[in-house]
Amino acid sequence: MGAVGQVVAGRLGGEWRRLVRRHGWTVGVWGLLVLLLLWYAALIPRFGPFAIASIAKNSLPTAYLAVSQAVVVIAGGIDLAVGSMMVLANCVSALLMEGQSFGTTVLIAVGVVAGATLLNALVGWVIVTSRIPDIIVTLATLFVFGGAALMVLPSPGGGTSGGLRFVFTGSTSGVGSNYWPSLVALAVPLAVLAAWLGRTRTGLSLYAAGSDPNAAYLSGLNTRRAKVLAYAIGGAFAALAGLAVTAITATGDPKFANAANGTLNSVAAVVLGGVALTGGVGSVIGAVAAGVVLFILKPILTAMAIDPNTAQVIQGLLIIGVMMVAGLLELRRRRAG
């Protein structure tokens, strides 16, 4: 009896260790997010639905971009153009949606997502065909998409319908206390993507192509298709980020700094979220949590009456600190192993 118990406990222990190894980082990031939320709740005088709704809707663009980057990085690439794809989607949608009915704006939104998907699939095709490193191709498209956004909308403007604003922000005026629509707008696409990535053959092929493209190719996987697919999905989520910006601000803004910041945050979120830049490791769930963590630092530091520039310094130090600790842990594990 005792022996059996020991065996069961041992097996459970092994299972547990495997779970921790596989999902430990993701759980840790979600824990950090919860801690930060609690801290924020304690910091501000009135923490209620309004504060939650504000965080839920304003973190949407960062969260979508984190997912977009995560999918591409998992498949062994990196997309430095996600930020400018977001800005392009923002400008195109705001320009077309101004003064339109809800139905028309939804059709436009679908069209923008489809367009971004195709455009980024083309980027993926260029990468696998030319065999130029991902980072170079997407550095170039960062410029191209940013310029295209400026062509579409030379100065901030445009608009959208109240209905579309409700879909992303929970209120037709963009300001309110209803946080459910924002949460649903993030959770539904995320759940679909996570299930597809983890449970289907094609989804898993992204992991395989990212972790060892040669081995994946030799085992009969179409690694080129996997990569193009990853870029296409990344484009769709970057477009969602752009639509969220349109819904939150009701304008399109072609400023290049927005694009650059979006890309920076997405890369930082992916790394903090436990997705290895070498490919094949990590989950979109972890990346989303890290994206929201990066976003929420700003309101927390503002609530502590810290100057936004100091906040930027603190954010940078935090990212470096976390990565240094992770690097040291990895080094120790390798020495021990």
């Binding site: 065999r131 170079i136 790394v271 940078g316």
Partner: protein, 335 residues
Amino acid sequence: MSTDLNRRTEEVAPPAVARERAWGRLFSDHPLLVLGGVLVVLVLVTGAIEPDYLSLRGLRNTLLLAAPLGILAAGQTILMLTRGIDLSIAMVATASAYVAGNQSPNGAGVAIALALVVGSAAGALNGVGVGVFRVNPLIMTLAMAGILLGLFTQWAQTFLQGSTSVAPFIRTLGGGSFFGNRVPWNVLVWAGVAVVVIWGLRRTGLGRMLYAVGDNPEAARLAGVRSWQVLLAAYTLAGFFAALGGLLLAGQSGAVDLQLAQNFLLPSVAASVIGGTSIFGGVGTYSGTILGALILSVLNSMLTFLNAGQAVKQVVYGTIVLALAWLYAAVTRRE
């Protein structure tokens, strides 16, 4: 069977095909020839658009632009050889320019020295993060850029408020020219950097180790290379070159602001890549990067002459960078 077929076609290849193959081999062995050709074509096209350009004065403007870019790209090339990248060079350059502006009342010598020290220090911090703590270079330098931006945005409103202009000597160095106003001074600085970098990469121990660490880190480690020291040196050098580039830019524009070097980050990476430096490490030369910097500068002049708006300029610039990288990859690929 298929190899047999290949051999046979080679034996009986008609002269035209053979000649084509010889050209192909020439280009793939000396890709710099192709880059030089691209540069000449671009200069001629620009000359066709604006005949004034094909004078020493027209070329002067291109060189004036190319020198700071080439110096910033020197740091980028060195880091790419080690499988690294520095996304903070634009902010390091700006920070050093602010330091130079702040110290200019104490004389140009002090200002230049302190600016170079600050730049190298920022680079060394990057090197500690990447070399010792094994932080991914992309993340380390991105975060460094964010930290510097936050610090200097604050300081620019407080004690650096009056530090927006640099000493006359730096202004001459960055924007002036000699030989009857035909050759910019900053080209001389660039030439000095070029000689040191090309010689250093070829002939010094550090140069060889940069290639070794980037080509195969594990083999380099087993051969006894202390890679953290090599990386620390590489990132410090990149910081130094960023500071030097920042000084020239500050001298050229005459004033320092937070956007000083912003537009040079992506071109510095692009110049190295067009010049054939592999982002995966171990492959590349600084002579290629020099050609890359010249090509990008001529391209910039051309787009200016075409009176293209910022939007069109960005799209064309990005597309051409992509096309050139593709051309380079296609030419040098061996079947």
